[in-house]
Every structure is written in C-alpha cells, then in structure tokens.
C-alpha cells in the first residue's frame, strides 16, 4: 500500500467518523416524559427553583417523568408549544392569546391561580418628580419583555387610555426582559421609571430585595386576567384531566402542598377557560401588539 492510498483511506475513515458522529447521537425519548416550560418573567434560575417541588408533585400525580426546560425568551415558549416541543407551559395572559392564535385555537388553559383572576401591574420610579402617569412624558421608561402581559401589554393599554403613547411620549423605551430586571433598571437609574407585575413587586419587597425608600410605586393598573397553565391541544385528554385535577387538588391546609403553593405565590389554583382572556386579546389589538 503506498502513501497516497493510505492517505485516501485515512481521509475516508475520518469523513465516515465525522458523519457517523452526527447521526449516532442518542435521540431524545419522547414517551412517558412530560415536557414543561415557563415564560421567563423572572430570572431562569429563580424559575427552576420555584418549579422543583411542583415538578415532583406532578411526577407523583401523573406517573410520568417531568422535565423542566428553562428559557430566556417569551416567544420561544409559545413557539415550542405550537411545534409540540413542550406539553405544558406556564403562560401569561398575552402569551396565552399568542399561543391560542399560533395553535389555531387548540391550546387549552387548564388552571390559574386565584390571584390571576384580578391581576394588576405597578408603575415604579426612583425619581421624586414623577407622581402620576402624566409626569412620564419625556422620561426613559422600562417595560419587561415585549410580550409580557403585566410588564408590557396591559400597562401599554392603560397608558394609552391615559392618553400616553410610549413610542412618542417617552424619551426612550427599553425592554428589560423580566420583571425583577425592571426593578434593577429603575433602582440603578438606567431607566427613570418602569412597570412590573404586582406579584413580583410584592415578593421583592417582602424579601427586602428592593430599597423602598428609593424606589416607590406611583400608579397601579385596574385588574385584568393574567397567568395560567396551558397544555397543547393534542395531548391525551386523560392526561389533561389528570394534570387539571392535580392543580385543583393542591390544598393550602396540606403542609406539602402549602410549600408548592407558596413558591408559586398562589392561595390556590382555580379552573380557567379561554374566554377569560378575550379582554386581553382586545387590549392587544387596541395597543397594536396583535395584528
């Protein structure tokens, strides 16, 4: 065997190995696994911590392995639900509407927290000169993620009703990406004012993660429907029933359940339906976020 044919052989072998390595990978098993995700309205590490006990509970209730995938993009959760890459997702009101549209109306909301039926957003600032929404003219302002319900859509809708157009009336509009990041933006002076969901604000205040002498709430929105747990429409109905029952069965009197509920910041879970989110869909059209 001469060198050139040896070289050819070596090249062929290397090419074969490279190609084989692409395909010989373990395919992800899709049976008996419940794939769960959540919109990243808080830091992904925080979401994972919050989900851990709930995940264990769902494993016990369904007999399936529960895998939680943390993500950093709201729209990716919606798209993953639509392309059947996840089975169950924690969505905001607006992301649910987006998911409903992208799945041609098949996505099913199964449960929401009692609190989500009358949810609000808080406008915050560290600037003593800002006392009402009208004072926001000419200021820099931070929303959460563009497709957040309580950090973008509903505040935008209520700002509009107060006669303010963020793109025209604010000096600069930023999207912090998450509610706790909005607080960091405002506390650091990166934005002069911002808006976030009431539940995260209360949590940060309780945990003393925000200096309330400096950052204060100067306006609150009227209540609206927000977050829910949604499953993709083509999931086995028996499993959907099991999951729905699992959420509704969570009982604050049971200490184990109490821990799960506390982490989800829920008094208890209640049933929900698609129609609850029609108001949000209308607001999204009005605010120009849905076309």
């Amino acid at each position: 065997m001469n060198f050139s044919s040896m070289r050819r052989l070596a090249l062929k072998a290397a090419a074969a190995c490279a190609v084989a390595s692409l395909f010989a990978l373990p395919a992800t098993a899709s049976d008996a696994v419940l794939r769960v995700s959540a919109i990243p309205d808080e830091a992904p590490t925080e979401l994972q911590r919050k989900f851990a006990p709930l995940g264990k509970y769902l494993e016990a209730q369904t007999g399936m392995k529960v895998v939680f995938t943390p993500v950093s993009d709201y729209a990716a959760v919606v798209e993953s639900l639509a392309t059947r890459k996840i089975d169950l997702a924690w969505l905001g009101g607006f992301t649910f509407v987006q998911a409903k549209i992208r799945t041609n109306g098949t996505a099913i909301p199964i449960a929401q927290r009692e609190e989500d039926a009358k949810f609000t957003s808080k406008f915050i600032t560290a600037d003593p000169a800002i006392k009402s929404l009208a004072d926001l003219k000419g200021k820099t302002f931070a929303f959460g993620a563009p497709s957040s319900t309580s950090g973008s859509l509903m505040p935008r809708f209520f700002l509009q009703q107060a006669g303010l157009n963020p793109e025209k009336d604010f000096k600069n509009v930023a999207f912090s990406g998450a509610h706790d990041a909005t607080v960091a933006f405002v506390a650091a002076g990166k934005a002069e004012a911002g808006v976030l969901n009431a539940s995260v604000w209360d949590k940060l205040v309780e945990a003393k993660k925000v200096d309330t002498d400096k950052v204060r709430v100067f306006a609150t929105t009227p209540p609206y429907f927000d977050y829910n747990w949604t499953v993709r429409g083509d999931l086995d109905p028996a499993l959907v029933k099991k999951l729905t029952d699992a959420f509704l069965k969570l009982d604050p009197a049971n200490p184990e359940h109490k821990e799960i509920l506390a982490l989800q910041r829920a008094a208890k879970f209640i049933p929900t339906k698609k129609e609850n989110y029609d108001g949000i869909e209308k607001a999204a059209h009005a605010a120009g976020l849905l076309k």
């Binding site: 060198f3 290397a14 490279a18 999207f175």
Partner: protein, 515 residues
C-alpha cells in the same frame, strides 16, 4: 508656523471641514452627549455597579454553572465551525474563479454567500431558536451558516490569489477541474487556508458568547442574566472565564499557525506522529462537542421539522412594505448607521491616542482588555453610564473597537517606512513634526484600510446592539419577533442586509479613492 509651512494645509483643512459637515447629522442621530458621562448621578450608578464586580462570585453552585457554560460555548463554536467548513468547501469550490477556463464570477453562488454573511449570526440564532427550540442547536446552526458564508468567500479568494500555473498545467494535460484544484492549487494555498480557518474558530468562540444573549446557551446566556440583574459579582466571574477562554484560544491558534510555518520533516511520509495527533485531537474534539451538546440532528431533519420550518419561513413573506412601517425602519437604519459611524470614529481617535506613546507595553494591556470584552457586554455597562439609547451603543462599539484598532495602528506605525522620518530628524525637526510629516503619511493608507474594515464589521454589530436597548434596527427586530409580527421583522432583516451590503460597497469605494 505649521500652517504656512505646510503646502497641503488648505486641502487638508477643507477635507476635514467637509467630513465634519457630512458627519454632523450622524452625530445628532447618535444622540452624542458627552456631558452624560460626567453626570454625578450616572457616575455613582456605574461606580456602584463596578464596585460590585469585586469580589467575583465564587459560590460552588455558580462555578458549576459557569464551568458547564464555558464548555458549552467551546462546543458550540467547534461544532458550528465544522458545519461552516462542510458548507464552505462546496460553496467555495463553486464560487471561486480559480481553475476555470473562462473566469466567471458565478453570480448565484456569490449572492448566496452575501446573503449568508450579510445577516448577522445573532439574527440567524434568533430565528433558529424559534424553529428548533432553545439551546445550543440554534447557536451551532447560526454559526454554521454565517461562518460558512465567510469561509467560502475567503477560501474562494485565497484560491484565486495563488499562482495558477500548476493548476493550468494540470488542466492542459487533461485533468478535470476538481483534480487540478486539489493537486495544483490546494498544496500552495494550504497554509493560508488552514490559518484562516483556525482564526475563524477563534472568532467563533467570541461569537458563540454573543449568541447566548438570545437563548442559544453557553456563557452568553449566563452573562445576559447577570447583566440584566446587574449582579456585578457574577458578571465579573463570567467575564474572567470568558477572557481566559479567549486568551487560551488565541494562544492555541497562534501556536497552530506557527506550526504551519515550520517546514515539514525530511522523511518519505507526509504524515508524522504530530499530524496524526492533531488529526486525532480534531476528530475527538468535534465528536466530543456534538456529544456534549446532545443535538438531536435526526430530529432536525424530520418531515415535521421541515414543515414547521416551512411555515415559519412562509410567515416572513411578503415583507411589510407599508409607507408607515418603511418610515419607521428608515429611522432605524439611520440610527444604526449613526451608531456605527460615530462608534468607529471615536474608536479611531482613541485607538490612535493609545497607539502613539512609545513604550507600547502598558497601553498594550489596556488595548487587550478593551478588545476582549464583547460589544454587547460593553453596551450594558455604557447604558448605565449614559442611559439607554444610541449613544450607549456608539460608546460600546467605540470601547471594543478602540482595542482592536489601537493594536493594528501600533503595528502600522512600526511597519511604516522610516526614511522620511529619519531625514526630518537629521534636518533638526521636532518630534511632533517628524510624526506628522514623516511617519503619518506613510502609515495613512494602512490606518484608513483598517478603520474602514472595522466599520464594515461594526455596522453588523450596531444592528444587533438594539437587543440590549441601544436603539436602531436591533431593537425593532427584537420587538417585532417577540410579537410574532414576522412580516415586519422580515422588512427589518432585509434592511439590515441592504445596510451591510451598502456599507461594504461604500467602504470599498472609499478605500479605492483614498489609496
């Protein structure tokens, strides 16, 4: 009297004035307000943030995340490079005029390459994250496409630039084109081809960090979270890990390039134990990368994936061309252009100042530090310093680019012809005059070429900086993609493409004119 003594004073002054008049609106659009840098409130904010950098976070759990993310970044870059290479070899072969009987420019392949290169990798990543779900697969594919385009273009040019005689001789004696290239051109170009590929791998590591910002995994994703939460300690640790990775890659690629320069050993077989070891390491590294990332490539090529990809792409057509939206995109283009021009100019000035002082050493360190922090990370810091908006973006570009240009400028000055300077020195001219009329004219073409090249890169970066709040096209794209307004997003992507092609053309024209 410098002015009267300088015979070229008048045209120089006129030139400078014209440039100022042309650039003034761009400075306006970039909202340049140096005062914001000195604002007491801003200084305090950024001081607090930077103070939180010390001590870097060293918790065991965090370090575990950090180690995994570092490996992930390395694996994304390596796997992406393999994909890029597999793409670049056939495309480069099709695009190059080398070994053809009649030189053609092959417009179809060339425009495909422009398309692949013109759309920033971050945009590809953002798109792939949607189709293939979150995680490294999106990053690998995005890198593969953009870098495939770049590699193919450069491969084609390298093949065109080497001596065509051996290939022609082979063709005349009846060899087919592939064989003529393989045995006539590749041996001559091999070193340059390999060297460029290694250099690109190094760039891929930097780029894969940036793609983490849109959810493609790796160090960038950690950095994005730390920066959003303004967690200085974590940011510092991530930055240190990132710098270590970049320096290691830099060192490795320098070693590899030097190894390519050493003449082969004098023995009958072209393969030695060293090249065998290298081939083995490469193979093992690639396989390990794919294993580590655990990408179900089988899953990517199912009918289901093809359908959802098709639906996704179809959503982008037709682009929204309504007058109202075009006006908005036009404003975004103007802002992006302003960010890139102002950022590059500020960088040129700062780079020049840092390149001039004579012992280079202490300034070299500053330049390296400026250069190793990616623009997106600088942008989160400058946004604290001057508030959100285009000026923060321009400053971020300026800081990173100053590091790059400073180093290139220093080399250009060292390589500039010395005769004129020496003559002025002997005639008793002071140092300032020696530099202005001796060294500077000799180095100027190089300086301008480097600056224009960086501008071409910066326009692509400026389009992306909007993701962290610096305005321009990036912010529009992020917003519209979040809301699934694909028709609008598609207009923005087309605008980015046109802008980067336009800037490439302008820069090529300017280079020609100023030569």
């Amino acid at each position: 009297m410098l002015l009267t003594a300088d015979p070229a004073a008048r045209p120089r002054l006129l030139g400078a004035l014209t440039v100022l008049v042309v650039l003034w609106p761009l400075f306006q659009a970039a909202e340049v307000k140096p005062g914001a840098l000195l604002d007491a409130g801003n200084v305090k904010v950024i001081g607090n943030f930077l103070a939180a950098f010390l001590p870097p976070e060293t918790g065991a759990e965090f370090l575990g995340h950090l180690g995994k993310a570092t490996l992930e970044t390395l694996a994304i870059a390596s796997a992406g490079m393999l994909l890029a290479f597999l793409l670049a070899v056939p495309l480069g072969y099709l695009a190059t005029a080398a070994g053809r009987e009649r030189p053609t420019l092959n417009p179809v392949t060339r425009s495909l390459l422009t398309l692949l290169r013109g759309i920033p990798e971050l945009v590809w990543a953002l798109v792939f994250v949607r189709v293939f779900g979150l995680g490294p697969a999106a990053g690998v594919l995005a890198l593969g496409l953009t870098y495939g385009g770049m590699l193919a273009k450069v491969y084609a040019e390298i093949l065109e630039s080497v001596d065509p005689a051996p290939a022609n001789a082979l063709r005349h004696s009846g060899a087919k084109r592939p064989l003529a290239l393989l045995y006539g051109l590749i041996p001559l170009a091999a070193k340059e081809l390999a060297s460029y590929t290694v250099y690109r791998w190094e760039c891929a590591i930097r780029a894969s960090v940036v793609m983490g910002f849109v959810g493609a995994g790796g160090l960038g994703q950690l950095m994005d979270q730390a920066m959003k939460m303004l967690n200085g300690g974590e940011a510092a640790s991530i930055l240190l890990a990132f710098m270590a990775l970049v320096f290691a890659a830099d060192g490795l690629s320098q070693w590899l390039r030097r190894a390519l320069d050493t003449p082969p050993a004098d023995r009958p077989s072209p393969f030695g134990p060293r090249s065998a070891l290298l081939a083995l390491t490469l193979l093992a590294g690639t396989v390990a990368s794919f294993r580590f990332l655990n990408i179900g490539f089988g899953e990517l090529f199912t009918a289901d994936a093809a359908r959802s990809m098709g639906e996704f792409v179809a959503g982008f057509f037709p682009p929204d061309l309504s007058a109202e939206w075009l006006a908005k995109v036009g404003k975004g283009i103007w802002e992006t252009l302003a960010i890139s021009v102002v950022g590059t100019l500020l960088a040129a000035v700062a780079g020049l100042l840092l390149a001039l002082p004579k012992p280079h050493a202490p300034f070299g360190f500053v330049l390296n530090a400026l250069r190793s922090v990616p623009e997106l990370v600088w942008a989160t810091i400058t946004a604290l310093a001057v508030g959100l908006g285009p000026f923060a973006g321009a400053l971020a570009l300026a800081l990173h680019t100053a590091g790059v240009l400073g180093r290139l400028y220093a080399e250009a000055f060292d390589n500039a012809p010395q005769a004129a300077t020496r003559a002025l020195h002997l005639a008793g001219a002071p140092a300032g005059v020696r530099f202005l009329y001796g060294t500077l004219p000799g180095a100027t073409p190089q300086l301008i070429a480097y600056t224009l090249y960086r501008w071409e890169m910066n326009i692509r970066m400026a389009a992306i900086l909007g993701f962290v709040g610096a305005g321009g096209l990036g912010q529009l794209l992020y917003f519209e993609l979040s809301l699934f307004h694909y028709a609008q997003a598609s207009t923005v992507i087309i605008a980015m493409l046109l802008l980067s092609i336009g800037v490439d053309q302008t820069s090529a024209w300017l280079r020609q004119r100023l030569r």
